[in-house]
Amino acid sequence: MLPALARRAATGLAVVAGVVTLTFFLLRLAPGDPVELLLGPTATPAQVAAQRHTLALDRPLAVQYVAWLGRFARGEWGTSIATGRPVRALLGEAVPATLELVGLSLVLSYLLGVAVGAVQAIARPRVDTALSVATVTLFAVPGYWLALMLIMVFTYWARALPAFGRAGLDGDLLAGGPWLADRLRHLVLPLATLTLIGIGGIARFVRGAMHDVVGQPFVRTAQAKGLAPFAVLWRHVARNALIPVAILLGLSFPALFSGGVFVEFVFAWPGVGRRLVEAVLARDYPVVMAATALSAMLVVAGNLLADGVVGWIDPRIRQRSDAA
């Protein structure tokens, strides 16, 4: 178990290093010279050269990369160009907001998706078909569009739920019960959007996985020895069908985070995704770099967590990786 996890962690580190390196060189490839932008059109070539030397931009690209990587690894992420605030503080506020939204929606969409998929696997064909129509539609709905439609119905028409931000304008003044209620009211629409678009794919996958297991001989044996249908489903089918689902969990982190980017943007949710979009639109490079690296790290951490869960559910995998 542990060597396998260590190997996984090494792969994860490679992913993060890959993202960071890619980001660095892409920024250098992109059109636009920061020194000329900094000094303006009236600068003489000598001034440009001097400024270039001060910023160490005249050294070989590899040297610059190593120096930048060292600073980045030590957490010196620089200052946001657009807001003048330290990048670390800016993103430090955003991470809890993203974890709250994406984490909760992950739990909810898996619970509901597995439930719907399991019901489909044992339901009558007509129910199965109706649910399939629903899940394939949810699977195809873009998150930002669903968000707009929910805002239209629940904010503009019903005037029931807030559509912007994580807390009301007076959120800082509240405490205790009202504070919690305010937070929850702001969470409902973004969470519902992200969960709904997640359910479709999970239910479709679970349905297939359950069907694969239901057809196997050991299930017929369990039925033949007179076990109650629910016991067969729960103890024999679900336990085996959940292994591919847990693997899917690991693979779905990038997609979930991506969905989160759009949903955070529409609902003005102050998370990493929204910061990233804002920074991209404002060409705020230090923030873009840091937010990209941070997203990669969150995704990799999620993958590692999912690998742990798979080993916990399936002892066979645990033993196999121990032997390897």
């Binding site: 195809a140 982190f253 759009f262 873009v288």
Partner: protein
Amino acid sequence: MKRLLRDRRAIFGAGVLLVVVAAALAAPLVSRRDADQPDIVATRFLPPLSADARGAIHPLGTDRFGRDVWTRLVYGARISLGVGALAVLLAIAIGLAVGAVAGYWRGPVRALLLAFTDIALALPRVVLLLLLAALWRPSAALVIVVLGLTGWMSVARLVQGEVRSLAARPFVEGARALGISRVRILWRHILPNALTPVIVAAALGIGNAIMLEAGLSFLGLGVQPPTPSWGSMIASGRDTLVNAPWVAAAPGLALVLVVVACTLLGDALQDALDPTRGSRAPPAL
């Protein structure tokens, strides 16, 4: 093919896609071109199915510039479907090349390419898209390249597996015994047989690509206004959600319909091309 024609999902998916593609190709015939120079005050925010002062019917209403939403939807389909299709073609070309080489050449080449594919697969795609789209001036061509560069990994893995198993078959050994070069064996004998899973991946990938193009355009990083794309139409409808909800609703519904069609067609193709899978899990619809 017979299995496919009996599959309700395939009929529905292919039917929807045919209608949408036909409407996009025949856009000037099925829409009103004069909608670009209207009397703005009189014709803006008309609800669906209403007529303007000149008696012209607007089946999906008009937006805040008095432009006919149906017309923009049909012209937007050209951009959205075109960008999606080209992006998937690019992704398949890259995926085929990487997958074929990784599947046929053993040793360090395979290990290196597979490791690279795995790492690329673990990257958050939208983050990469945002990064790439931020660095260059947004355009349809950039979206195609960016979607292609971030979408080839699953194709590469599929092709790699297929090529690997085909390379062990007797007919490949026979070809080698005849003294045919490796590149020629790969190109003429292995790749044509490895294309089956790629067709499924293409059908599923095109829906995804259309959705991502719309997402980038929604954020203002894709196709630039006033060129209509479904994503930028949803974005512009966002500002008029209160007085004219149909402006955002119509392109979104079109998007859902097309992506559902692609997904169902892909599912049906998968079952039809791989009978062992189909016999275990009954079709979903």
